[in-house]
């Protein structure tokens, strides 16, 4: 049994960080699953892992340094690696032909052999099928159940999770093409597109909305109804609210991944009555301060 410091190629005084670095480098080079054809890799990896078991643990390292335990103090039990299964002839769900699928298309001897091998693996997982599904903005926030009509006939009920973002791909396990034998069916992959909304726009977990208010609501304040994706709410507009004033409705945005919700930002826009109003004109004409107020006075040009 070699000295673990020699195995990792570090000095006995090496820091814990250096030991981890040395271990990672050696383990990456020798991990049996990253070197499936190299028989020596397993021995090497076990030696490296054993050394790190000892030196990576401050307590065990101290005991080793003081001679309490020897280098075999922490030998790992015999372990079965992924590579022991992955090249097996019988089909398994992780089998992947994409590394050579192009070679199987020809009509030469190699393509024939590869195709034969493919057919021989009776338990092949079915292919994943791709679909696209457009949904409304509100549905992307609240969640919904949509029925997708498949081009090859039949339908698929798709559960839209609340807070879905445009372009997100949903995976319906086992709803793809049927497999062969015990391989099981593939998955349906549904790319969901969120249609633009007349009222709302979304930025991250927050949504924004531009809301027209009347002149009297702007000047005097008041309570107004504001649409949100989950229904209307009442919001208090303070006195003297201007065009461009942004109000925040806490928790009325899109659901966050870790729980909670974003906010809805309501941008106010003051709108005058469509047809000219003589009373308003008279009032403004008599409003002395309004004549001296110049909203452009801090502009240079």
């Amino acid at each position: 049994m070699r000295n673990p410091y020699e195995v990792l190629g570090v000095a006995p005084a090496a820091s814990a960080g250096d030991i981890q670095k040395a271990y990672r480098k050696l383990a990456k080079e020798s991990h049996p699953d990253l070197n499936p054809g190299d028989k020596a890799a397993e021995e090497k990896f076990k030696e490296v892992a054993g050394a790190y078991d000892l030196l990576g643990d401050a307590e065990k390292r101290k005991r080793f340094d003081s001679g309490e335990i020897d280098a075999s103090g922490a030998e790992r039990p015999r372990q079965q690696f992924y590579r022991d299964f992955a090249t097996a002839d019988h089909g398994h769900p992780y089998a992947d032909n994409s590394g050579f699928a192009d070679f199987m298309e020809g009509d030469d001897a190699l393509a024939e052999i590869l195709r034969r091998a493919q057919r021989a693996r009776a338990n092949r997982r079915g292919d994943d099928l791709h679909y696209r599904l457009p949904i409304d903005f509100v549905e992307s926030i609240t969640g919904a159940i949509k029925r997708l009509t498949l081009p090859e006939g039949g339908t698929l009920d798709v559960k839209i999770p609340p807070g879905l973002v445009d372009g997100q791909v949903l995976r319906l396990r086992g709803k793809g093409a049927p497999g062969a034998g015990k391989g099981g069916p593939g998955d349906a992959l549904i790319e969901v597109g969120v249609l633009p909304d007349r009222r709302f726009t979304r930025e991250g977990d927050d949504i924004s909305l531009e809301l027209p208010i009347s002149l009297s609501e702007a000047v005097l304040g008041g309570r107004i109804r504001v649409p949100t994706p989950t229904g209307d709410v009442t919001m208090a507009v303070p006195k003297g609210s201007n065009t461009g004033t942004v109000m925040r409705l806490k928790g009325k945005g899109a659901p966050r991944r870790g729980g909670g919700h974003g906010d809805e930002f309501v941008k106010l826009r003051v709108v005058l009555p469509k047809s000219p109003d003589p009373e308003l004109e008279t009032f403004v004409a008599n409003w002395e301060k309004g004549k001296t107020f110049n909203p452009r006075e801090d502009r240079t040009s």
Binding site: R24, A27, H31, Y82, T87, N97, F100, L110, A117
Partner: protein, 93 residues
């Protein structure tokens, strides 16, 4: 030997939330049986590889997905090469 979900969690030391993510990412595809999931020895070995990549090698989640895909392709190639080797031996005899 196959393990059910609970046995698999116990033997691998994985958190149930972590397993859910791995299943969601299809890093693990256990057999679906009437009584729930069945984890084969292969699934267990694959889970150990993922753990090695994540905890010992410091690979992040995106990296794990890429590595698994490449490893699976490599095994596909190895299988094809092995078949070719066998066929060549059979014809040369």
């Amino acid at each position: 030997m196959t393990l059910n979900k609970q046995e698999f969690l116990t033997s691998s030391g994985l958190q149930v939330q972590t397993l859910e993510v791995w299943l969601e990412q299809r890093w693990l595809i256990p057999e679906q049986a009437s009584g729930g999931m069945n984890f084969s020895d292969m699934d267990v070995a694959r889970a150990r590889l993922i753990q090695d990549l994540k905890t010992d090698f410091g690979v992040n989640d995106e990296g794990v997905g890429v590595i698994l895909h490449l490893v699976d392709q490599l095994h596909g190639l190895r299988r094809a090469l092995g078949q070719l080797h066998k066929d060549l031996q059979a014809t040369s005899r």
